[in-house]
Symmetry: C2
Subunit: 461 residues, 2 copies
Amino acid sequence: KRPFSQTSPWRLQTKELDEDALKSLKVNKKRLMKDLHHTCQWGTGKRWGKAETETGMTRLALSDSDKQARDWFVKTTEDLGCKVTVDEMGNIFAVRPGLKNDKPATFAGSHLDTQPTGGRYDGILGVHAGIEMIKVLNENWIETEYPVGVVNWTNEEGARFPMSMSSSGVWAGSIPLAAAHNLREVHPGTATMAEELSRIGYLGSVAASHEATLMAAHFELHIEQGPLLEMANKKVGVVIGVQAYKWLTVNVKGRDTHTGTTDLKSRADALLAASKMILHSHRLATAHNALASTGILNLKPGSTNTVPGDVSFSLDIRAPADETVASVLALVQQDFPKIAAGENLSGLNDGGTPSLPCTVSITEDFDSPATTFHASCIDAVTRAAQRVLGPDGKSLTMEMTSGAGHDSVYTSKRCPTSMIFIPCREGMSHNPEEFCKEEDCAIGAEVLLHSVLRFDRMREV
Amino acid sequence: KRPFSQTSPWRLQTKELDEDALKSLKVNKKRLMKDLHHTCQWGTGKRWGKAETETGMTRLALSDSDKQARDWFVKTTEDLGCKVTVDEMGNIFAVRPGLKNDKPATFAGSHLDTQPTGGRYDGILGVHAGIEMIKVLNENWIETEYPVGVVNWTNEEGARFPMSMSSSGVWAGSIPLAAAHNLREVHPGTATMAEELSRIGYLGSVAASHEATLMAAHFELHIEQGPLLEMANKKVGVVIGVQAYKWLTVNVKGRDTHTGTTDLKSRADALLAASKMILHSHRLATAHNALASTGILNLKPGSTNTVPGDVSFSLDIRAPADETVASVLALVQQDFPKIAAGENLSGLNDGGTPSLPCTVSITEDFDSPATTFHASCIDAVTRAAQRVLGPDGKSLTMEMTSGAGHDSVYTSKRCPTSMIFIPCREGMSHNPEEFCKEEDCAIGAEVLLHSVLRFDRMREV
Ligand SMILES: NC(=O)NCCC(=O)O
Ligand SMILES: NC(=O)NCCC(=O)O
């Protein structure tokens, strides 16, 4: 047995704890949920139920309410004894010292930003579970071998600045800093990410880089956002990877003309062409067992009696395998120009007057290839889940691939990473009615705690 | 011969003029075009050519630039000796006294507002031709039998406040004042028409009513906005009526869900359903020889990775006969709910994964039945065109029905009305590149002048 550390305020070292002692380490469910709902006062969204907490969230990245949640995060983690740093992307790292403080921390992380009509759990739960982990360690006087930390990543959603996981992407060296800084908000389209970081006081001085902020590992608790755990009656998903996805912007150009004086054959109707493309992308996705979705569509000039000459829309293509996404993309690139030109692809033109050609341009804004998480982190999560769930652990757990992207995708490029999923009601997410049971939130947070502790004791350096 | 009027500054009465003298009354083409381009400094739009005047217009109703154009209109017509009144809809009436001033004026009128990406001629030419008419009367010392006037109607385009001809509609008693005052702008959707009238100082005190501002007749010069005159090599269109149209708002409700975790069959994708409806409306229009157009589409929440749960779009349906518009509307009302519910109408679902149902609601915002103009005004225009065009007059003129709505639609409900069309390049309108030859503008203005003078001498009261 090693002596108690002289420098650390927490003196019971993890190496001293046996399995039974570790098993008894529990998160405080009430406190976890109280904290979570407390921070949901900043950016409260649409009400869907009667209970006080039955509202969604509207906390777009770098908005005023995001600033308030961030300020709370910084104050809370500092009060818990963490050292807090903010990098050039506004990522906030809170580190609790361990025995060997010259080594990088093991992180728990997620994000506090939400969709425009998001819920209270997506991202938020993961950050709160990280804070709860620190609280449990503190109140049990536990000194970890290495430092442990909690990270709040900026603009994970990609909802306000249209690139998901943009700031973990910069940290990983996968997205250039300038590209992320220059991202312009979707609505109303005036501010850039750098401007907003600076405006809310979170343009930090630390380089946004895995070399400036080292990570020994990254564990992320997240709600599944899909229906699989609930349908299978499981409590914990051990996430072994993330499916591939690409984001495109499609711009269709026709000609502004009068709706009352321009006969159908003399039109170059960019919206009619875009409608056909959206329908076609749905058919392509169906044929390839992939997903294709349009979440943003803007048109110009936007007048009832003008045929729109300019339509832009987003296209989000996903599939488990990179090859599938590539195949759908290739068909989009091949077929959209034909649709614009007026070819009768899959009978889209049947029964409609042929008209003048439009043109189309397609840009790829974002690419996240299929991700595989790290075997030792997956193992840590599997064992932690069994520790938390007890004898039934095996039957209440399942391995799964994430449909959504997460900051863990980018951390996995630079350090061992894996994720923990918990079920959410009807798989609903990116919706105000997103809901997770308190019990499940607590199970997830406890698995996170034990995953980090297990990794802390297993790690080599 | 009657004595010169003692009270009028213009002493040569029209009754004294014979055909030959009338024939020699010409508009000043240079002055007309100079004035027109002068006022296009307010709201100058997109440049499309090198010449100074080769830009479009962006002068939305009741915008700051519309106020500047209005101020110019008021000052100019007052300086020409007109009495100017402004009604509660911001319609501006400028009246030049005649011999019998206890009787209503014969008006020339159109509008100074434009589309978001409009041209320099649509509406603007008609107002300027009215002012040029006053100038020609003044400089030739002509006293008309009855007063003549020029009217600038508010928000004819319906582009900013989504109801076309809204203010002539109130004047005619066809649209309730409150409905027009409460119209909310399309973008960004904050201000109402009443607020904007008041803000720019054009919420007049005169009742917006055909009973408060009497009209003996309304003549409107306008560009055709379609290709028929140009294709037929005609100089003047004698407009005998206007086709029917209706404006609808279609709202599709689905469910916000995550694009990465929601499989295709678990979606209620409001944009996919809306795309099918837009395609279907194009097919319905084709089948009925009608027009169907969507110029506005808004969706919520508007995030790349959220399947939109809420889409609203405009639908503009037109046809020469009321019955045709009614038939298309009936099919829209019958078919859109089926498309929303997931029925495979005309193979729209072929090759796509069936998904959860959406719902749809359709509201009719505006209805303009087919209009027939007044025989004696049509006659006045026909004769005026022959007077202006000379021996070739008959072969350079054709009767036609307007595809676009105009304030003359509403004036025709309360006073004898007709319109004069001139050709525009390639029939292009609601487009910055809208263009009319100076020569054609002058011909149109001259036909307007002579139509008004002819009517002035023909009228009974
Ligand atoms: N967790 C989550 O919804 N992330 C957004 C990134 C994505 O689009 O998958
Ligand atoms: N002239 C014109 O473009 N008016 C707008 C009304 C319509 O939509 O037809």
